[in-house]
């Protein structure tokens, strides 16, 4: 519990965007997440690290209720966004996911044109009243995802024809297009080569200005490069949470230290 006091102290002076209290997740009989409590700050990049199977992705998927699509998943506890419980009966996951965008591990552009990929979200949410507005949204989103210059001449080309790094940035543009407030990224660079990874990491830096970004990564160096806060997950528990610099230089839990020094992989 000492750790938690540390967390509250450091985060307390900023605006809390997402607050989780006593979150448990079960997949059938498996207890995947055990009592996670965390406050995630606005306009900041928060990284979840930990060995594979530690529950970091599972927890991430709770934040926009993607776990709803898995029939055997069961969630207990509260997750608040802007003080509203997202698991409240009145909350429509569809509306929630427009507010909390998500980028997945493997780039998953739809088999449509680049333009239609980005325009898909605004279209279904009815964000544009006419073609001109839609064009504007697409352009802005592609610019924010630092992809505009590369694709502006071939917006009608299929999104699946882009390179891996471009595809992932297209997916980011797609997520940004619905004007989310929170952006969840589930190991967004794990399927990319180092150059593409670099591009995406730079992008994350910029995205931070507008969104609260939560990124799951298995690369500690990436966490240290892009994030301001880091949470370490181990076997479904959140072991430690704090300033990224502190976690890496001065971990206070033995398990975190083992992980960072490479004793758990």
């Amino acid at each position: 519990m000492n750790d938690m006091r540390f967390v509250e102290r450091t985060v307390g002076n900023e605006e809390v965007k997402i607050a989780a209290r006593g979150v448990h997740v079960y997949y059938g009989d498996t207890h995947a997440i055990k009592d996670v409590n965390i406050d995630i700050a606005d306009k900041m990049v928060t990284a979840f690290i930990g060995p594979s199977g530690c529950g970091k992705s599972t927890f991430l998927r709770c934040i926009n209720r993607m776990n709803d699509t898995i029939p055997i998943a069961r969630i207990e506890g509260d997750i608040m966004i802007d003080g509203e419980d997202i698991y409240d009966r009145r909350v429509d996951p569809v509306q929630l996911r427009a507010k909390v965008g998500m980028v997945f591990q493997k780039p998953n552009p739809f088999p449509k044109s680049i333009y239609d990929n980005v325009a898909y979200g605004p279209k279904i949410h009815g964000l544009a009243r006419n073609k001109a507005e839609l064009d504007e949204i697409v352009e802005t989103s592609l610019r924010r995802a630092a992809l505009w210059d590369e694709v502006k001449d071939r917006l009608q080309a299929p999104g699946t024809g882009l390179s891996g790094g471009q595809q992932q940035r297209l997916c980011i543009a797609r997520a940004v297009a619905t004007s989310p407030e929170v952006l969840l990224m589930d190991e967004p660079c794990s399927a990319l080569d180092p150059i593409a990874t670099d591009q995406v990491e730079n992008l994350i830096h910029e995205l931070r200005e507008r969104y609260s970004v939560v990124i799951v990564t298995h690369s500690m160096s990436q966490a240290s490069r892009v994030s301001q806060r880091t949470a370490y997950f181990h076997l479904g528990e959140m072991v430690e949470y704090g300033e990224t610099g502190d976690i890496f230089t001065n971990p206070r839990d033995q398990r975190t230290e083992n992980y960072i020094t490479g004793r758990i992989g």
Partner: protein, 487 residues
């Protein structure tokens, strides 16, 4: 020796060979099976194989070729004056065969001695043959009798030659293999090679079948086009075969039949594609496990029901219902069999076909696509309509093409539900007919394989085959390309 006895002798020889082969192998190894290259049984099997395989192959070829050769020889001695055309010659040769067979039978039953049969007179032969139960079409004349006697001579000579050749072959195989047996002989490899050849032979049957289908229809179609102009067949809008009044010109245009076929298929697809597709979507995306476990097999039962059952359903239930409830009150016709009847029932038949194919295809769309869409806040139906269905579209198109091919080739439902009147009309409550219905009606009952009215069925069959083959190849190609995309 009759073929049956030949087979028995070959089998006996093979069995003896197997025993001897095994013994000799064991003897060569001094009674110790471990000294042998292969297990002792392989040596026996090897002998049996070499005794049977060449003998059986030659026997089969002989059985096919002998009647053809003999008929050719016998036909050549029949004077040209005895028949007018190829058809008449065929009938005449049938009588020749029957007389020859009858004489043989009479000898076998003891009604005639061999000498009597040889000297038999043409005059009372028909009656005498009738006594032993052989019916000959017309009175036996000298031409036929002469030919029949020639036939008997040639046939008995050929039978004798066949027996000798086959037995020599079997014996040669026996001696050859037995002589080669010793301790180091690789009997297993030899047996396995033979088995492999057998396996390859079995798998070429698929090619032979396709070849047989094409050939059987191609020759008769060419015959047909020699008697009836191809342009008329493909472009005439009238179908009016004159069966009774021979000589009265038939009009055999395929267009009215194609129209009926396509119209019925269109209605069938209009019924089955939306229902099948929505059912597949519901079952794969929405239904919980219990509902799926109960509804999916029930839908698949529809696919296991024979088409004759659907035909009867159209005939006794759907047809009268449509006529009494819709067609008659609206003045659209008063026929129970109609395009609508056949189309609706065929549509029901195709529902499980479309739904199970679409189900497979929808399930092949990667989960990442769904996640991407849900992650953006799309509802399930938006995801299905705007992401999954477009992504699965090529596969779904392939499935629809396969269903269309089924609909076009379907026979029993249209035979019982669509009617027999060839007409080009847009009123779906009128009876129309299809290519398959006409194939059935032209090839059942009295058929005469020299008249265009019968031969047209082969041209229809070939057209049907080409259309469905085209659709199938296209569909399989599309589906395969689609699957590769996600693999």
């Amino acid at each position: 020796m009759s073929p049956l006895w030949l087979l028995v002798s070959i089998a006996v020889l093979a069995l003896i060979g197997a025993v001897i082969g095994r013994r000799k192998a064991m003897a060569s190894a001094g009674g110790d099976a471990r000294e042998l290259h292969s297990l002792p049984n392989y040596y026996g099997a090897n002998v049996a194989l070499l005794v049977t395989a060449p003998a059986l192959l030659v026997l089969a070829a002989w059985m096919i070729l002998q009647p053809m050769l003999i008929e050719g020889r016998v036909a050549s001695i029949v004077p040209d004056a005895a028949y007018q055309d190829a058809g008449a010659l065929n009938l005449l040769m049938a009588d020749v065969r029957r007389v020859a067979g009858g004489l043989d039978l009479a000898v076998a039953q003891g009604a005639l001695t061999a000498q009597e049969a040889h000297d038999a007179e043409a005059t009372d032969l028909r009656a005498r043959l009738a006594e032993i139960g052989v019916a000959v079409g017309s009175e036996v004349d000298t031409v036929i009798l002469e030919a029949a006697q020639r036939y008997r001579v040639l046939d008995s000579r050929a039978d004798l030659a066949r027996t000798v050749v086959i037995l020599i072959l079997a014996l040669a195989g026996f001696i050859f293999t037995v002589s080669r047996i010793d301790r180091t002989y690789r009997a297993r490899n030899s047996v396995e090679l033979a088995v492999l050849v057998l396996l390859i032979g079995a798998s070429t049957i698929a090619i032979l079948t396709t070849f047989g289908i094409v050939m059987s229809m191609l020759f008769e179609t060419m015959n047909f086009f020699r008697q009836y102009p191809a342009s008329e067949f493909f472009f005439s809008t009238t179908w009016d075969p004159s069966f009774s009044g021979r000589g009265g010109a038939s009009e055999l245009g395929i267009l009215p039949l194609l129209w009926g076929t396509l119209y019925i298929s269109l209605i069938a697809l209009l019924v089955s594609v939306p229902i099948g597709l929505f059912a597949a979507i519901y079952l794969s995306e929405y239904a919980d496990k219990r509902f799926r476990g109960f509804a999916k097999p029930l839908l698949e039962v529809l696919a296991g029901i024979p088409t004759i059952v659907y035909g009867l359903f159209a005939l006794i239930t759907v047809g009268p219902l449509l006529r009494d409830a819709i067609a008659s009150p609206l003045g659209l016709g008063n026929s129970a069999s109609s395009v609508m009847t056949a189309g609706l029932v065929m549509g029901i038949m195709l529902i499980p076909f479309v739904s199970s194919l679409s189900d497979d295809i929808i399930n092949a769309v990667p989960q990442a696509m769904r996640d991407g869409s849900y992650g953006l806040g799309a509802t399930q139906s938006e995801t299905i309509r705007q992401v999954i269905v477009p992504a699965a579209l090529p596969g779904i198109v392939g499935a629809i093409l396969l269903a269309a091919s089924r609909a076009i080739g379907e026979t029993m439902i249209v035979v019982l539900g669509a009617g027999a009147a060839a007409r080009i009309d847009v009123n779906p409550f009128e009876a129309m007919t299809t290519v398959t219905v006409k194939i059935v009606s032209q090839l059942t009952g009295d058929t005469d394989f020299s008249s265009p009215e019968t031969l047209v069925a082969f041209a229809l069959g070939l057209t049907l085959f080409v259309i469905t083959l085209g659709l199938n190849v296209l569909a399989l190609y599309i589906v395969r390309r689609y699957r590769e995309q996600y693999e």
